[in-house]
Structure formats: structure tokens, C-alpha cells
């Protein structure tokens, strides 16, 4: 107990040093007059709280540990998931249920919620795509937004100049993003570890700057507006049909509602996510997918087994770019308007955060994390000033408490049936 008091005092002094210049003294600029506002209250509160916490750290910790011991309720859902997972016949069951819920949900939810979930689906696509390079192949890419931008601009430009529909543009957007990934990958993939991260970061920034500077092609900071929404077999979702087109509500003889378009976009996003999930799931079981993971674990061993690391890395980057391209085209369709601001470094960092928070390599975790990262700040919109503050804090706390992510990755594996009788 003797050492606690000086330590608590020290912590209190440290808190004062930290808080005074930011919260205790505010620089107040009014016109050309600069003055200082003294606001001691928040500082005093912070100092007292830290002092008390530190002083009673031991009893608090002990109490916390006891409380935790008493709460030992098991998690029924997680348990059920784990159990069904082991039985090959039931593997698909939770997924099917989830999918049905996801399809039915928008018809019961509010429009704002559906729209936010659509945004979340975009991040799910991005997260799943980035996961290929970061989670599977173990390559840190910090410029993922560049591929996302390529996809979005591809659709916007194709629609604007050639009047191509969303459905035609979607594969082209994917292909262009893939090409970008391939061309970037060729020279830089021989860089190792964090250097690769930085080069891709630089590449991402260059892409954004070029989009902003090449006014003739991309509209510069004005961006591109009036990007058409996707159609359902040619049926449009506007209030009025464009020339020669038909609208969804007229075709089915129902009243116009803005919700149709929102729900359609959501379902479209969901379909894209499901197909991406399917493709990745297959890839993961193919020799290529296994080679990615092998490469992540030990590059030298891979090389000595005759695998070509460059080809494997290149395939991972290219494929991951495809998904970013698809997500980009979908994003442009949802927004109807894009400008370079949407493709900043922060965007790349957020997607990376989704991958890590979700548990690298785990598809389900990434979906959860994408939803959490997009939906939580939206829900907290009323807390305006505190929203991003809490968001940053949650990111740190998650890493401390659960560094393996929400749902740690489970490798696909085969288990040998237990032997019923001992070997002869």
C-alpha cells in the first residue's frame, strides 16, 4: 500500500501535464485578437479520476476478476456454430439461415438502416478482397483504395461517355482494377514486408492525386455526377423513366416508392457479396489458395518446394484488386456521384482495420467487422463530437483485448476419423 500513493500522485501529475494544454487552456481567436480561455474543470475531473483509479487499482482489479469469475455463462450461439461446423452435413446450415435473414431483413427495416447496410456491404466486399492479400498471402497493402477508385471511375466514365449500363460496366471495372493490380504488382512485389506497404501507400496517394489533377479525364475535384443506378433487367428505379426506358413501379403496377431503389441496391450488394464469398471459398481450397497461405507462413520453404513466389503474390494482388474494382463500381452506383475525396488513405486504412478487427483470414469475422465499422459511427451520429473519438478508442481496445479479431480464422482442414481399434 505504501508504494501506491506516490504512484497515484505521479499518475495524477502526468494527467495534469497531458490535459492542461489541450483542455485546460483554449486558444481563442476572435478576428485578430488572440486570447486564452482557462477551463480548469475538465482537467481537475480528469486528474481526480486518474488519481482515484490508480490509488484503488488493486482492489478494483481484484473485484473485476471476481466479477468475471462469477459470470461464466457460455455463449449458446457460438457453441452451436462451433458444433455444427464440425459436422460436414450441417456446415452450410448457419450460412443459409444467415442468408435468408439478410434477404428478408430489408423489407422489415427502415430505409436509413437499409442504406447504411448497403454501405456496410461495400465494405464487406472491400474487406473480403483485401483479406486475400493481407490475410491469406500475408502482404501488407496500404493503398487498396486505389483499386476501389479505379473500379468506381471505370463505371462512372463508361456510363458517362459510352452510356454503358451498370451490368456491362461491372466486369469491365473488375478487369481494369485487375490490370492495375497486375501492373503495380509486377515491379513492387519483390519488395519485402513493410516496404511493400509503403510503396502501395504511395501508389494509392498517386492515384488519388492523379484523379484530382487530370481534370480533362476525371473531372478533377468536381468529380463525376449523374451516374445511373443499376437496373433490374432494364427496369429503372427512378420516379420517371428515362427516354425509352421503363420503370420498375410502372412495370409491376405498384406505387412509386423511393424504398424500392434502396432495397434493390441492398439486395444487389448482397448478391455481389455472396458471389465473392463463394469464389473466395473455392479459391481457398484450390492449390492457389493453399500456396498463398504457404507463402505467408514461409517464403523460403515455398521456394524450395518449387513454388514461384512472384507469380503467387501477383495472383493474390490481382484477384484482390478485382473485388475492389467491383466494390468501386457498386459504390459509384449507390452514390450517383463520385469525387477523389472518397478514395483517400483513410479509406485504405479503414478497410485494413476491418480485415484485422475481423480476424485476419476469417470471412465471417470480416463481415461482422465491416458492419460494425460502418454502422456504429452512423448510429452514434447524434453524439457528433464524440463519435470518432470513441471509434478510435474502440479500435485500440479491441486490439488489446482481442488481437486475433472478432472471429479468428479457421483453416479449412480434414480430420481423420478416430480409429475405433488400436493399430495392430
Amino acid at each position: 500500500m505504501r508504494r501506491v500513493l506516490p504512484e497515484a500522485l505521479l499518475a495524477a501529475v502526468l494527467t495534469a501535464v497531458l490535459a492542461v494544454p489541450i483542455f485546460g487552456l483554449r486558444i481563442h481567436v476572435d478576428g485578430i485578437d488572440v486570447s486564452l480561455d482557462r477551463t480548469p474543470t475538465p482537467v481537475i475531473v480528469a486528474v481526480v479520476v486518474v488519481f482515484l483509479l490508480r490509488l484503488f487499482q488493486e482492489p478494483l482489479r481484484a473485484g473485476w476478476a471476481r466479477a468475471r469469475l462469477s459470470i461464466t455463462w457460455q455463449h449458446p450461439l457460438a457453441d452451436a456454430l462451433r458444433r455444427t461446423r464440425r459436422q460436414p452435413g450441417y456446415r452450410a446450415l448457419p450460412w443459409t439461415l444467415l442468408l435468408i435473414a439478410a434477404v428478408v431483413w430489408p423489407f422489415t427495416a427502415s430505409r436509413g438502416a437499409v442504406d447504411i447496410m448497403t454501405l456496410a456491404l461495400i465494405y464487406v466486399m472491400l474487406g473480403l478482397g483485401l483479406n486475400i492479400v493481407v490475410g491469406f498471402a500475408g502482404l501488407l497493402v496500404l493503398g487498396y483504395a486505389a483499386f476501389y477508385a479505379v473500379g468506381a471511375y471505370a463505371y462512372a466514365l463508361l456510363a458517362q461517355h459510352f452510356g454503358l449500363s451498370f451490368w456491362l460496366s461491372l466486369p469491365i471495372a473488375g478487369a481494369l482494377a485487375a490490370l492495375t493490380g497486375f501492373l503495380l504488382g509486377l515491379p513492387v512485389l519483390r519488395l519485402r514486408g513493410d516496404y511493400l506497404a509503403i510503396v502501395t501507400l504511395g501508389f494509392g496517394e498517386i492515384t488519388r492525386l492523379l484523379l484530382n489533377n487530370l481534370n480533362v479525364l476525371t473531372g478533377g475535384p468536381d468529380g463525376i455526377g449523374n451516374i445511373p443506378r443499376p437496373t433490374l433487367f432494364g427496369l429503372e428505379f427512378g420516379r420517371r423513366a428515362s427516354e425509352g426506358g421503363a420503370t420498375f413501379h410502372e412495370f409491376f403496377g405498384i406505387d412509386y416508392s423511393g424504398e424500392h431503389a434502396v432495397i434493390f441496391l441492398y439486395l444487389l450488394g448482397l448478391a455481389l457479396v455472396v458471389s465473392i464469398l463463394f469464389v473466395i471459398d473455392r479459391l481457398q481450397r484450390m492449390p492457389l489458395g493453399r500456396a498463398w497461405e504457404a507463402l505467408r507462413e514461409d517464403e523460403i520453404a515455398c521456394r524450395s518446394l518449387g513454388l514461384n513466389p512472384t507469380v503467387i503474390k501477383l495472383s493474390a494482388l490481382t484477384l484482390s484488386a478485382v473485388f475492389a474494382g467491383l466494390a468501386g463500381a457498386f459504390f459509384a452506383a449507390r452514390q450517383g456521384y463520385i469525387n477523389p475525396e472518397s478514395f483517400t488513405f483513410i479509406e485504405s486504412a479503414m478497410v485494413l482495420a476491418i480485415v484485422v478487427l475481423g480476424g485476419m483470414g476469417s470471412q465471417f469475422g470480416i463481415m461482422l467487422a465491416a458492419i460494425a465499422i460502418t454502422a456504429l459511427p452512423e448510429l452514434a451520429r447524434e453524439f457528433n463530437e464524440y463519435r470518432m473519438l470513441a471509434f478510435g478508442l474502440v479500435m485500440v481496445l479491441m486490439m488489446i483485448w482481442r488481437p486475433q479479431g472478432l472471429v479468428p480464422a479457421v483453416r479449412p482442414r480434414l480430420e481423420l476419423p478416430e480409429r475405433s481399434e488400436p493399430a495392430p
Binding site: 481567436v29 476572435d30 478576428g31 485578430i32 488572440v34 468475471r68 459470470i71 461464466t72 455463462w73 457460455q74 455463449h75 450461439l77 457460438a78 422489415t108 427495416a109 427502415s110 430505409r111 436509413g112 438502416a113 442504406d115 447504411i116 447496410m117 454501405l119 484530382n212 489533377n213 481534370n215 478533377g220 475535384p221 468536381d222 468529380g223 455526377g225 449523374n226 427512378g238 420516379r239 423511393g258 434502396v262 449507390r334 452514390q335 450517383g336 456521384y337 463520385i338 469525387n339 475525396e341 472518397s342 461482422l368 458492419i371 460494425a372 454502422a375 456504429l376 452512423e378 448510429l379 451520429r381 457528433n384 463530437e385 463519435r387 470518432m388 483485448w401 482481442r402 472478432l406
Partner: protein
């Protein structure tokens, strides 16, 4: 630990789903959404918008509201990001709010306005100046501020006829607003036979302009137009004087903010600014200006009065048209004129103000300004 945190987590996810599922509101007020940046790098402009709108709501309520109902300002943060603006617009549709004062940045106004038009929500932006916003043929979209293609030519004509520079440089901040105005100025001076020697973009948030200033000094530039906001121009002015490059500068209303003198100090003396006529010096607004000052708010910011006026117009229209139906209100607003702090306003068919005049001011080091005749 693991089970515990997993439990907390699943509870959190459950809560998310619940809250997302149903948001209900019940109160008999006329809600007006004020959508703009409350956080993020341009929050200070959002402050102007919010303070103007809030003041209007308070004053209207103090006089008994509209048709016996109180107004309620619902402040919503879009951080000036297009992505978030769409989410905000959907939330507004969702919450059945029928009127929007906002958004602030052209980039976020553009995608949001499409939704408002489709959903029949009345939108008045007090700050987004990009011409494209009112060129979509929308009926529900208005603005209570002039556009870049009004402001740019005003500045351009002044440069061409009054300044007649030998070597003109046009700079901008590579943002929609700044570059838009700079291009308009460029067009106008070129039409008048002046070929700018330099047309370049800096980047937003840049603090070091020494290389650019040296370049202009070397090229013997004798007049600079800057399209953008005050922080960058303030630093440009300051560093120009420091390097001994004493050329006159000119900028749009985005720089006409007291902060420019705080940043540039004596270097802001003599800066030319195109601004909407200063509504806060209009004797008719004396009481309003006093009300702002009593609350410790600054009424001189370029978006304060337009924002106040936007709320005023919505309230007057509801009173005049005796309906709360936004589509009918939009028609009413198109047909009538309104008495507001920014003058007696009427709207063109596209939703722009019929008359909005930009005046050229000379800025002084003590953050005051005087009109240039």
C-alpha cells in the same frame, strides 16, 4: 475473458440490429434538418451554418412558431463527405423530416440533392456554390447564396477592367469550390484579352508555399487571384510578404473571414475579396446582429445570414401556403418572394436566387473591410 468479450460483442451487435430496425419519433413540431459538417476539417463553416439556422429557429419560435407549431432544428453531421451525405439524406427521408437546410459542401450537396428531389423533400442550401447543383432540373432544390459562375466573373471583370495586370497568376486549392471559381475567373480574364502566366493548384492543408512564391517572384507576377478558403490564402499572403513578394491578392468569399487577418496579420491589408453584400452592416439587420453578438456568435461569416434566411423562407412559406407539404411549398417558393436578412429574395426556375450580388471589398489588417467602388 474470451467468452465474456464475445458475449459483450454479440450483445452489441444485437443492439445495433435492434436500433437499426426501428427508429420512432413522436413530437408535434415542424422539423428542419440542418445538414452540414459538425466535425472534420471544415467544421468551422458548419458552425456558421448551424448558428444561423439555430438563431432563426429560436427567433421564429419566440414569436409563436409557424401556424401554432414550433420549429425544431435537427442538426446532422455529414463531415462534408459525399459518402456520408448520402447516408444522412437517407436518414432524413427515413425520419420523415421534410425540410433540409444544407448541405454545405458542393461535393456532399450534389449526391444528397438527388435523393431529396426524388423523395419530395425541400432542400435549401445556404452555402454550396457549385453551379452544377441547380443545373439538374430539380424542383425541390434551392439555394440562398450566389454561385461560382456569378462570383468568378465579377472578380474576373474587376481584374480585367480595373487592375489590368501585366502578369496575372491564378491559384486554387484543387477543391471543387476553389478550382471552380478559379476557372471562372480564368475564363473571364481570357475573354477580356488577359492571358494568365500561371494557373496552378496547391493542395488543401498545405502549409509551405515558399517554392510557389519564389516561382511567382521570378516570373514577376503582379497580381494573384486565389480560389479557395482562408487558411491557405492566409499563409500564402504571410509567406509572400516575408519573401518580399508584395503583389496584391484577390480571393472569393471563402477567404473573407476574420481568421484571414489572424493568420496573415499585416499581410492581409489590401487584399481584395468578392463577397455577398455584408448583411451584418445592413441597418435592417441591426437587431439580428445584436442577437448573435449577445450569444457570443459571429454574424459576419459568409454562410450565417444565408442559413438564417433559408429557415426564414421555409417558415414563411409554410405560413403563406398554409400547408406543410414540401412539394406544394416548393411551388410556393418558386412563385413568391420573401423578406429575409439577405434582402427581398425570389428564385429563378432552377432554384437559384434571382438576384444575388457580389461586391468587391478591400480587406484590412484589423479584420475589417471596406467596399471598393
Amino acid at each position: 475473458m474470451n467468452t465474456f468479450s464475445r458475449n459483450v460483442l454479440s450483445a452489441a451487435v444485437g443492439a445495433v440490429v435492434l436500433v437499426l430496425g426501428g427508429v420512432a419519433h413522436a413530437a408535434d413540431t415542424v422539423k428542419i434538418a440542418v445538414a452540414g459538417p459538425i466535425t472534420g476539417p471544415v467544421a468551422q463553416y458548419g458552425d456558421m451554418q448551424m448558428s444561423g439556422a439555430k438563431m432563426a429557429v429560436e427567433q421564429i419560435n419566440a414569436k409563436g412558431g409557424v401556424n401554432g407549431k414550433m420549429l425544431e432544428a435537427v442538426l446532422i453531421d455529414d463531415v462534408c463527405e459525399p459518402k456520408q451525405a448520402v447516408a444522412v439524406a437517407n436518414q432524413i427521408v427515413n425520419d420523415k423530416i421534410k425540410y433540409v437546410v444544407g448541405h454545405l459542401c458542393s461535393g456532399s450537396t450534389q449526391p444528397a440533392s438527388k435523393l431529396y428531389e426524388e423523395e419530395g423533400i425541400l432542400m435549401i442550401t445556404p452555402a454550396a456554390t457549385n453551379p452544377a447543383i441547380t443545373q439538374q432540373g430539380y424542383r425541390m432544390v434551392f439555394r440562398t447564396i450566389g454561385t461560382d459562375d456569378q462570383q468568378g466573373p465579377t472578380a474576373g471583370r474587376y481584374i480585367a477592367t480595373q487592375i489590368k495586370p501585366k502578369k496575372l497568376a491564378i491559384l486554387h486549392d484543387k477543391q471543387q469550390y476553389g478550382e471552380g471559381i478559379a476557372k471562372e475567373v480564368d475564363k473571364t480574364v481570357k475573354a477580356a484579352g488577359i492571358q494568365p502566366v500561371l494557373f496552378e493548384g496547391i493542395s488543401k492543408g498545405q502549409t509551405d508555399f515558399s517554392a510557389l512564391i519564389t516561382k511567382m517572384k521570378k516570373d514577376e507576377v503582379d497580381f494573384v487571384y486565389y480560389g479557395g478558403y482562408h487558411p491557405e490564402l492566409g499563409l500564402l499572403l504571410r509567406q509572400s510578404r516575408e519573401q518580399g513578394f508584395d503583389t496584391k491578392y484577390m480571393g472569393p468569399e471563402g477567404v473573407g473571414n476574420k481568421d484571414i487577418s489572424a493568420i496573415a496579420g499585416p499581410a492581409s491589408e489590401g487584399l481584395l475579396v468578392t463577397l455577398p453584400a455584408d448583411f451584418s452592416t445592413d441597418p435592417a439587420n441591426a437587431n439580428l446582429v445584436k442577437a448573435f453578438k449577445d450569444k457570443g456568435q459571429d454574424p459576419t461569416g459568409p454562410f450565417v445570414m444565408p442559413s438564417y434566411s433559408a429557415v426564414r423562407i421555409i417558415a414563411d412559406a409554410i405560413q403563406g401556403a398554409k400547408t406543410e407539404d414540401p412539394v406544394k411549398l416548393a411551388e410556393y417558393i418558386h412563385k413568391n418572394s420573401f423578406q429575409t436578412p439577405i434582402g427581398n429574395v425570389a428564385f429563378k426556375d432552377n432554384g437559384d436566387l434571382k438576384e444575388f450580388e457580389f461586391v468587391i471589398f478591400e480587406w484590412h489588417a484589423d479584420a475589417t473591410k471596406t467596399p471598393v467602388k
